[in-house]
């Protein structure tokens, strides 16, 4: 090899090497964020008031990544001040518990699937959780929102919102499920177009037993609550006015207790977002709105409904607010591990705080101004049993 040839070869090798190495040594550019709009989920931590008492679901234990998170169901029976553990047995509930029930009806619990389970086992109790009986399973994954399951008053029929965004309805026996609507088909209706529906978030029945679906709208001021009308759907939500009419609205929660439908709405986004509740006692024809609660840009991480038009929300950052008589009231800073608020009628609010296998019930009244420890429950979490 001549000196010149050697030089040329060396330069070529060097250039190729550096170019290759520099290219390889540089991290690939990050993917551009998805443009598909999503609705921030509200955790399944919640409480529900029925004739049997007040129920609460909270997640306890350890790491969800290692399936050491186990969802627990607690009941404070009507007339009692003490909570007790009534988690239905027989099924791993790492995927989450969703409860549905109304006055005079059994409480139905759905086990959201996790790991290799892809369908949703269902169970019910009519005696305050003392005994449970299995219902035919829902052959699909339930959506991860607290109002993804509803029981039809009187008949025992079920309405479910699936993880796929489809709403399905089962007959009274619960053995035959049929598709009611999907976010896509609903968005294609006139009501869906007027809303600019981007996702379904909740399902319930009216007191008369008609299905209601709720979701997130992109059109300002439109509340995405829809009622079936023959083969199509009609908007059935409250009409917002003023500044709220200029904001996109998302229905965070939608639930029916007795003759009352309750919705929890967020209006706007970011620092200017507000939360408000709406009630209807005539199946969604007329609605009463609460005052708005400014979230200060904090996400709503848990929301609960109580009796007599009470509600409560937990926001990111360990803050909470309770709604009573149509007005929100900020609560004292929540205790560490607060998972779900339980609004009461007598100005009393409880919060369920979790640390691994220990549930601590704290109470605050409108006059006390600070949280007081009321009860402590140790739950025998079976760590490692689902891994």
């Amino acid at each position: 090899m001549t000196r010149a040839g050697r030089g040329i070869a060396s330069a070529a090798w060097l250039a190729a090497l550096v170019m290759t190495a520099a290219g390889c040594g540089t991290a690939a550019p990050a993917r551009s964020p998805s443009t598909v709009p999503t609705v921030p989920p509200v955790a399944l931590n919640t409480s529900l008031a029925t004739a049997a008492g007040t129920w609460a679901t909270v997640v306890m234990g350890g790491s969800a990544a290692q399936y050491n998170n186990f969802w627990q169901l607690f009941l404070r029976p009507a007339g009692s001040a003490q909570w007790k553990l009534v988690t239905p047995p027989g099924t791993a509930d790492n995927g989450g518990l969703v409860v549905a029930g109304g006055t005079g009806q059994p409480l139905i619990t759905a086990f959201r699937p996790s790991q290799d389970l892809t369908y949703t086992p269902l169970t019910q109790t009519s005696n305050g959780g003392r005994t449970w009986s299995a219902l035919s399973p829902l052959d699909a994954a339930l959506a991860g929102t607290p109002d993804s399951l509803a029981a039809q008053p009187g008949t025992g029929g079920l309405l479910a919102l699936l993880a796929t965004g489809t709403a399905e309805q089962a007959d009274a026996a619960g053995t035959r499920w049929a598709t009611l609507a999907s976010a896509r088909t609903l968005a294609a209706t006139a009501a869906g177009r007027s809303c600019g529906l981007r996702a379904l978030t909740a399902v319930t029945y009216t007191p008369a037993g008609a299905p209601l679906l709720a979701g997130a709208c992109t059109q300002p001021g439109v509340v995405g609550i829809f009622a079936a009308a023959g083969t199509t759907w009609l908007t059935a939500g409250p009409v917002l006015t003023g500044a709220l009419a200029r904001q996109p609205i998302t229905v965070l929660r939608l639930s029916t207790t007795g003759d009352q439908i309750t919705a929890l709405l967020t209006a706007g986004t970011g620092r200017h977002a507000v939360v408000l509740a709406a009630w209807s006692t005539d199946g969604g024809a007329k609605w009463t709105l609460s005052s708005p609660l400014a979230t200060g840009g904090h996400q709503i991480v848990a929301a609960s409904f109580g009796p007599d038009q009470t509600a409560a929300v937990v926001t990111a950052g360990g803050r909470g607010a309770a709604l009573s008589a149509g007005k929100w009231q900020q609560l004292p800073a929540l205790p560490a591990g607060s998972a779900a608020l339980v609004p009461g009628t007598d100005g009393r609010t409880e919060v369920l705080a979790v640390h691994r296998g220990t549930l601590t019930v704290w109470q605050v009244t409108s006059s006390s101004g600070s949280w007081a420890k009321a009860q402590l429950i140790n739950v025998p979490i079976q760590y490692g049993s689902s891994g």
């Binding site: 520099a22 390889c24 690939a28 186990f70 791993a92 790991q115 399973p137 079976q382």
Partner: protein, 614 residues
């Protein structure tokens, strides 16, 4: 890389014991190979007159020093690597603990390529682990033994071929496609240096007296080192910072990650000290590295021995320092596969220097006269093979060539079972046995039952007479093990092929809460079992189920607080006459592709045994 991990503990005693046993057996065969080859050689020498041509052999060109260095160096390294492959953790640990992490930061296509081989290894860890031992020891011995001739050159070629396989599949292309590439940490992969050495060893003898090998080696090294210096100096890669935002810089992070490797304390202390030093003086350390690499590369490119000699000494010192302080030797911890890249680099550079320094072989005329009348010491040449009968050629071979032939036997000893295993897409049952132990042979009448299948039809055990029944107990709402077990049953049916029609795959519900027909049907849909003709998922009233559980010794306990049903994981093989013949513990373990395949194979074997007995 889902298929690469068996999910088993790398120190699993069943696997380790089986690996040791396999190595011992194959080691005895290896000894036998050498014994047979040696005895054959000695016998032929005793019985056959040596070919006349060898008595007047032409003067041979002595092997040049650079080639000797490369050959002995590579040989020792391959033997050492082979011995490292015999470490107990290697059989299971290599794919999951070495290959997978190495490839994890590489692009997806690299991971896909690597996963293919890693999966094959994880399916057959015994054969693959033992093969790596014998192939590498064989190549090493072959290189050490073969000084000259076609066999010696062929050893170089084999070294290149195996090295490339290891480089691609074992080292994920030496990590050259991953971020953070640096010579200091082993780029472009130790085995690629072995390949370079093998290629030089494979050069024909006429190249020995040329300066070409030296020129190629030093030019290649020079270009490579300058390229690595540029890469080392490239801003934004974190090598200029000892720490960044309170965290160790790139190099300090790398060395810190090596420190926990199980090794003598003194080496941990050394690497920790270097990490601390680099954190404090990262900029200076990188500047030194850049200058040293660039200077060495530039000096090598001159091809001037006088300039290269002192630089080479410094380069070797740099390699040794890097080997100890940054690469942390590379072979500690029970899963080290080689002594990393610095020793091969030093070896290659030294050989390149010897080649360019004119350490050329003396001309044939310089060979001492006595050599012409010395006993034949030539290797086996193709020419001689053509000229004489092969047996005569073997008889005339020297002991090194005989050792080379034995080494080829070693390689075949490793490669043949490995190739056979790789052709089998079903994992070895050793994985299932490592998780649950061996199947227990039994012989008693299976307890009868009357239950309801997933279609609502009544099924009795008696109605299944004439078929082999694989029976297990599954919780339909189980989130982890039962779906795996169902898949293993289905896979077992597939493995049975045509014999599948003589086997009934039966599961009984093992949940005292969710046992209704809707649950068995939902489970079947979930697992894709609705179209499997010989699959039965049986349930019944709670009383019926409890009776079956009791008769088969199965527990199905309700656990509190949202936990799954705790039930026995067990499977039975029931022969055509209704007798329980095999009981298998049936905890599916980690549920990896390899373990699922292994359990399926174990079930299929249990069924085949009964089909054969009947």
């Amino acid at each position: 890389m889902p298929g690469m991990n068996t999910g088993l503990n790398v120190s699993d005693p069943t696997i380790v014991e089986a690996f040791k046993t396999a190595l011992l057996h194959q080691g005895l065969i290896a000894l036998l190979i050498f014994l047979v080859v040696g005895l054959t050689w000695l016998s032929l020498r005793a019985w056959l007159p040596l070919p006349a041509a060898t008595k007047t052999t032409t003067p041979a060109v002595p092997e040049p020093a650079w080639r000797q260095l490369l050959r002995y160096g590579s040989g020792v390294l391959w033997v050492f690597d082979g011995i490292l492959q015999a470490q107990p953790k290697m059989a299971v640990g290599l794919p999951s603990q070495v290959i997978q992490p190495t490839a994890a930061s590489s692009p997806h296509w690299v991971q896909t390529v690597v996963n293919w081989a890693g999966t094959a290894w994880s399916y057959h860890p015994m054969q693959a682990g033992a093969a790596a031992v014998w192939i590498q020891v064989g190549i090493g011995v072959w290189l050490l033994a073969g000084a000259r001739g076609p066999l010696s050159r062929l050893a170089g070629v084999v070294s290149v071929c195996w090295g490339l396989l290891v480089w691609v599949f074992g080292e994920a292309f030496g990590g050259i496609f991953a971020p953070g590439l640096t010579w200091l940490f082993g780029a472009p992969g130790a085995v690629l240096i072995y390949c370079a050495a093998g290629a030089l060893i494979a050069l024909p003898e006429r190249a020995w007296r040329s300066r070409l090998p030296g020129q190629i080696t030093m030019t290649g090294l020079g270009v490579f080192l300058i390229g690595m210096a540029v890469l080392q100096a490239w801003p934004g890669r974190g090598f200029w910072q000892g720490t960044a935002s309170g965290q160790p810089g790139t190099l300090a992070s790398m060395t810190a990650s090596m420190a926990p490797t199980p090794q003598p304390h003194v080496f941990t202390a050394l690497i920790n000290a270097f990490t601390t030093f680099d954190e404090a003086y990262g900029w200076a350390v990188n500047l030194f590295a850049v200058i040293a690499l660039a200077a060495a590369g530039a000096a090598f490119l001159t091809l001037r021995p006088r300039l290269i000699r002192p630089v080479l000494a410094g380069f070797i010192l740099l390699c040794l320092a890097d080997w100890i302080l940054i690469e942390d030797f590379g072979f500690f911890g029970g899963l080290g596969t080689d002594p990393n890249s610095m020793i091969p680099f030093a070896l290659l550079a030294a050989a390149g220097y010897l080649a360019v320094a004119g350490a050329r072989a003396p001309d044939p005329a310089v060979v001492p006269a006595g050599a012409e009348t010395a006993p034949p010491r030539a290797g086996i040449s193709w020419q001689r093979l053509r000229e004489t009968a092969s047996l005569r050629a073997l008889a005339s071979a020297n002991i090194s060539s005989v050792a080379g032939v034995g080494a080829i036997g070693l390689i075949i000893l490793g490669a043949a079972p490995m190739a056979a295993a790789q052709a089998n897409p079903v994992a070895d049952t050793i994985l299932a046995q490592a998780i649950d132990g061996s199947a227990a042979p039994l012989h008693y009448r299976a307890a009868g039952f009357t239950l309801t299948d997933q279609h609502g039809n009544a099924v009795t055990l008696t109605s299944l007479r004439g078929k082999v029944v694989l029976l297990t107990f599954l919780d339909p709402v189980c989130t982890s093990d039962c779906p795996l077990e169902a898949q293993e049953f289905r896979q077992a049916g597939q493995l049975l092929g045509a014999a599948d029609r003589h086997v009934e795959l039966v599961a009984v519900v093992a949940n005292p809460v969710d046992y209704q027909l809707g649950y068995t049907q939902a489970f079947d849909r979930q697992e894709g079992l609705t179209g499997v003709p010989n699959w039965l998922y049986l349930t019944g009233s709670l009383a019926q189920l409890r009776a079956v559980w009791r008769n088969y010794g199965v527990a199905a306990d309700i656990e509190p607080a949202g936990a799954m049903i705790g039930h026995s994981e067990i499977a039975f093989a029931i022969d055509k006459a209704g007798r329980v013949r095999t009981e298998l513990n049936f905890n599916p373990g980690p549920g990896t592709a390899a373990t699922k395949s292994s359990f399926a194979a174990e079930l299929a074997n249990a069924a085949r045994q009964q089909l054969g007995h009947s």
